[in-house]
Symmetry: C2
Subunit: 396 residues, 2 copies
């Protein structure tokens, strides 16, 4: 009677959720200060002060019924214009308000664009490791998820593997740079090669292959690294964005989809985005938060905390003998398991009350993910436990 696919999806807790519950149990048993929970990508850095200031100002100055009222389904036009202007200023692009469709965050952005593009039998390519919900969004849109392993050393795209994976059924390719869970940022060279390969296949097959750039971590990069803006490299690029990480507002559900004019069948695709948003029950993105992000365009939560955390944990863990991918962005450290089975390693780490996430569900077995969007103090206090863990494997 009940939809079984949905029941299973609701009952199948993610590994991360399981760890979260276990960590809670341990906190009750041994005290919160003795549990080192690196499982959740929930930003611990507060939103920029201007975010709450913007909310207060809106409450003080705006007409109440308008502030909390419906916006158009695409989002308030002045909000979309402010965002387009900010993008143009930062990336030298020429977007306008009607390229943007405001959403309830990155998950909504992805789901809406996938439904807008979906035809039965279509394939969507993702690169491992990838955010596990991609699989849910793609398959429940009636499409097939095709996983392409990344280069084993650099975690950039492995173009031989990608070349074999693209077929005439490929409708879209999802990239996520800076990457969850590896922290890797695609170089301009990677992006250029990707654009060249996709363009060649578009010509060969005679139809568009859409590049979906899922980039909630765009602004979370360190050491002056630049994240190429993909619409400038490849015409058929759509961007899915969320303010969850840049403004530390993950619970407020606010983001957008960008459909540039140059994209193949742009007008129809934008209409399909509107149609998909409507069919999925998204009436409009939260109205006050739309205005808040327009008022704080270009601002970013305090990156120094994340950079300090990254340096602290990356340096310590490599010192202790762990093999870690050097993260240029996001707030994740991807660590090679010292034994082939990452779940066994995760269980071992639990003995030291270190909560890591085995990366099997991200499509890359043999690794764990460490989310370092936590207090620097907790990282510092966790290091003796990591040292013991390393010693238990004879790494140092």
């Amino acid at each position: 009677m009940i939809n079984q696919t949905m029941t299973l999806l609701g009952k199948k807790r993610s590994v991360i959720r399981d760890i979260f519950e276990y960590a809670n149990k341990r906190r009750a048993q041994i005290g919160a200060e003795n549990v080192f929970d690196f499982s959740l990508g929930n930003p611990n850095v507060p939103a920029p002060a201007d975010v709450n200031a913007a909310i207060r100002e809106l409450l003080d100055t705006e007409d109440d019924a308008a502030l909390h009222g419906y916006t158009s389904a695409q989002g308030a036009a002045p909000v979309r214009k402010a965002i387009a202007d900010d993008l143009n200023r930062r990336f030298g692009t020429a977007f306008h308000a009607d390229n943007l469709y405001m959403t309830c965050g990155a998950a909504a952005s992805l789901k809406i664009i996938l439904i807008a593009l979906s035809s039965e039998g279509d394939e969507v390519i993702v690169f491992t490791p990838f955010f596990p919900e991609y699989s849910v969004f793609v398959t429940t849109a009636g499409m097939k998820l095709v996983q392409v392993p990344s280069d084993e050393l650099s975690f950039q795209i492995d173009f031989d593997k990608l070349a074999s994976a693209i077929t005439p059924s490929t409708k879209a390719v999802i990239v996520n740079s800076p990457n969850n869970p590896s922290g890797v940022v695609y170089t301009a060279e990677t992006v250029q090669k990707l654009a060249a390969l996709l363009t060649q296949r578009e010509k060969e097959y005679g139809h568009a292959i859409y590049l979906i750039s899922d980039e909630p971590y765009r602004e979370l990069v360190y050491d002056g690294i630049e994240v190429p803006y993909l619409t400038k490299y490849y015409t058929d690029t759509v961007v899915c964005y969320s303010y969850s990480k840049s403004l530390s507002l993950p619970g407020e559900r606010i983001g957008y989809i960008l459909v540039p004019d140059e994209v193949c069948e742009s007008a129809d695709l934008y209409a399909a985005v509107c149609g998909a948003g409507r069919a999925l029950g998204y009436v409009c993105a939260p109205s006050m938060m739309q205005q808040v992000v327009a008022k704080t365009t270009g601002q970013v939560a305090d990156l120094n905390v994340y950079k300090g955390n990254r340096d602290l944990i990356y340096n310590a863990l490599t010192d202790y003998g762990f093999t870690c991918i050097h993260p240029d962005g996001a707030f994740y450290l991807f660590v090679k398991s010292p034994e082939p089975d990452a779940t066994a390693f995760y269980e071992k780490a639990k003995e030291f009350d270190l909560m890591l996430v085995p990366a099997d569900s991200f499509g890359t077995p043999g690794f764990v993910r460490i989310a370092y969007c936590v207090s620097t103090d907790m990282i510092r206090r966790s290091l003796p436990a990591f040292l013991k863990l390393a010693k238990s494997y004879g790494l140092c």
Copy 2:
């Protein structure tokens, strides 16, 4: 290439949207004060003062990262408990936090519950007139919408027609009381008869028929009218709620789904709700607004304004000779067209700069909807135009 269903859905503007654009054009031509726009169900009464006070208090007292951070997918447990307690206090029910799943408003609630219930070939019954998006939500969930005309005089349920419409394929029945667009509230007698008929058919077919109570207008009732709480009348009832109207927060997208323990396969259905929310890209309902509605449970925007508006427009229009359904709730007046074609009547009304909505898309031809959630002053100024319109039909 692009999903055609979604493109069409995005391009097909609703009648209401068309009227909205026309009204804007006329405002520019003849001045806003001369255009009488009754087309939109966008509350003009501000949110209760405690709503903005709650936001300010949360900004002042809550930890920022927690305030704007992810909640669990179901919604924050204390929020769900506060809502359950409020329902129990008001309706003598015995709900608990885990009966509730917080959503991004009524459209999300409906879409999620329909996906959770959907199997190919299932039928969903609605009573005309009905909110036109029901058709979008039901058909894009792969189910068939079955329209049952309401009683022509009372706009209560016509049980003979309903009895013929229920089949072994009936998965769910949607009711919306107080009703958009008729303003009618189902009586206890109607609800009792509905429960008896559904219970009898459940036994006959050997499977559950779910009653989906879409009730964003529950608190918007006048003259002490009671809106029966449907879970107390029929076991297999789920409730879809939104704070859009009761708290005048339609843009903020906050509501819930209630799945009582007694409902058939309750645990599986609740899991399917969680699964459907996940598959549709709803990560959690907006976090700060969850806390706001918990802090303002039981409050309602100023109903006196709507009651004053209702009395003013109902009394005037019936005086002028129009036939109107007396609205006990919501903020809509349903007016019989003086000529058979409601669209012709709507065009005629436009000549007097009265913007009404022909109800054909609500499944009830021959009527127009007047949304009186507007300023009382505009209603007052519009009356001479209504009088001229009545005279043009020889009604007075």
